[in-house]
């Protein structure tokens, strides 16, 4: 790789062992991926934060790096960790797990990372500008950054995103390069899209159908930020999609010619297939909303649905968001409304990365296809997908 003077200095150990190691790691990845040089980044988002995920291996590594003087040099936030950092006891997390999780957060804090733990960094102030190069690792946020914000990032791994934060650069390959951002397939959307959940199903259907590539959507006339957020998460869960375009809606959507590209139609039948694939029989006892983490608007919607109602005996309503949005939701009264109804609003973690199986529920209903995709294997629970209001209604008391 062609390195500039400053990068050579880092690689040579001129800025300490942690910086040298981070640069070695990025150069190795750059060589493997065929990058010709590094590119400066304006922000990083690091995955591999939950103790249940990275375990002792990750904990030891992070503490060693922090101790060796590793410090991030761009704005860096974290993916969800394994528990609500304040309300871990209510989630069934034990003291041992808590101690390990806090050590992980502490190591990141020592490295200068902003220890807000969320898959929606763009809702809490880690918001790149169009055209910025960044190093993000949460797959749904990567897809959102590329597609909706128009920033440029590959799907970094946890270690490479952290290394990129430490040197302020990442190898320039893949989606950092204009030529790799062109659409590879046109998706003709014939299914009707009314709710966020419909967008989640659409994303899931497309990921399942095409696997990887850069889809360009036709037939989507309107979509708000939360709809696109849900679609990003699903595209990256059932497939490995990190960028899509919608002419008229996304920043790079109007740039491309589509002649000669393969065309795939997604209609109501494909959507129904996904709904069936993510639904098993029986009655759900836990409703989870917030994958990706809820926006204030979604929190408000849940609050309106449960106002003056009660969560049924033996059932649960758990809502997942970032600390910042929960704080905003507290000021707006949404959190109180949800909790008076018997629901819970957890921050810093989510149904996919926390030890959900310890909570004593067996069947989750959610509006997120991503969550329904992972929870059967991460928590061993049965799942079902439904629109937000139907999902919430199913765990409330009925006269």
């Amino acid at each position: 790789m062609d390195l500039d003077g400053e990068e050579e200095l880092m690689l040579g150990g001129g800025e300490g062992t942690a910086v040298r190691k981070a640069m070695e790691l990025l150069v190795a990845i750059g060589e493997v991926m065929g990058a010709e040089r590094m590119v400066k980044i304006s922000s990083a988002q690091v995955s591999g934060v939950s103790y249940g995920n990275i375990g002792e291996a990750g904990l030891e590594f992070l503490e060693d790096w922090a101790e060796n003087g590793a410090r991030v040099r761009v704005q860096t936030t974290l993916n969800p960790c394994g528990m609500d950092l304040e309300r871990w006891q209510e989630m069934g997390v034990d003291e041992h797990y808590r101690e390990k999780q806090l050590r992980i957060i502490e190591a990141f804090r020592d490295m200068g990372v902003i220890t807000t733990c969320t898959c929606t960094p763009y809702l809490v102030g880690n918001l790149p500008r169009e055209g910025d190069h960044v190093a993000w690792s949460e797959s749904s946020a990567v897809c959102y950054a590329n597609s909706v914000i128009g920033a440029r990032t590959n799907r970094e791994g946890g270690p490479s995103a952290l290394a990129a934060a430490i040197v302020g650069r990442t190898p320039m390959y893949g989606l950092h390069l204009e030529e790799n951002r062109a659409p590879t397939v046109v998706i003709e959307v014939e299914a009707e899209l009314r709710t966020r959940h419909d967008f989640s199903l659409l994303g899931y259907a497309v990921g399942r159908r095409i696997g990887t590539g850069v889809p360009l959507f036709k037939g989507i006339r309107r979509a708000d930020r939360d709809c696109l957020k849900m679609m990003c998460a699903a595209l990256a869960a059932s497939g490995g999609i990190a960028l899509f375009h919608i002419p008229g809606l996304t920043p790079e959507g109007g740039r491309w010619r589509c002649e000669g590209l393969e065309r795939v139609t997604i209609g109501d039948r494909e959507i129904e297939d996904c709904r069936n694939a993510l639904t098993s029989g029986g009655e759900p006892d836990l409703c989870c909303i917030g994958c990706p983490h809820c926006s204030l608007e979604e929190l408000g919607e849940v609050a309106r649905l449960v106002k003056g109602r009660k969560v049924a005996q033996g059932k649960g309503l758990w809502v997942w968001t970032s600390k910042r949005v929960r704080d905003e939701g507290e000021r707006a009264g949404h959190v109180r409304t949800i909790e008076e109804a018997g629901g819970k609003v957890f921050a810093d973690t989510c149904m996919v990365v926390c030890p959900l199986e310890r909570a004593g529920f067996g069947h989750m209903v959610t509006d997120s296809c991503k969550a329904a995709h992972y929870v059967p294997s991460t928590a061993g629970m049965k799942v079902r997908v439904a629109g937000l209001s139907e999902a919430v209604e199913g765990v409330l008391e009925h006269e």
């Binding site: 190795a28 791994g157 946890g158 270690p159």
Partner: protein
Amino acid sequence: MNDEVVLRGRGIAKFMDQGEALVTRHGISFFGGVDPSTGVVRERGHELFGTDLTRRVLVFPKGKGSTVGSYVLYQLRKNGHAPAAIINVETEAIIAAGCILAEIPLVDRLEVDPVAAIRTGDWVEVDGRSGLVRVMRRGPDQ
């Protein structure tokens, strides 16, 4: 008779080491697939299930699974159970990052398919700086 061959590849993690080859045609996920405290493969159905990777020159097509696998390689090193070196057909970011962190020599893109050319039990020297791999058909003491 000592049958010796030198293979040329691409050096990714620029360290040097040697050991007895352990060859598999299966991909390896270090996260979940290898016990970080013992170095034993624990992925069910894997060709190497139950095999100890400690100090072996591990030859496999490429890495797979979660990027947390990089941290597992680091932990294997700290626990004294890291492979001596890794040779991939075509490596990827998880193994590359892990080998850098754990200081394990890593070479890929050999001029011949290493999974076929190297046999379990061969003695192998790996130079991650030059990308050269020296394969000896018998152990060094024979």
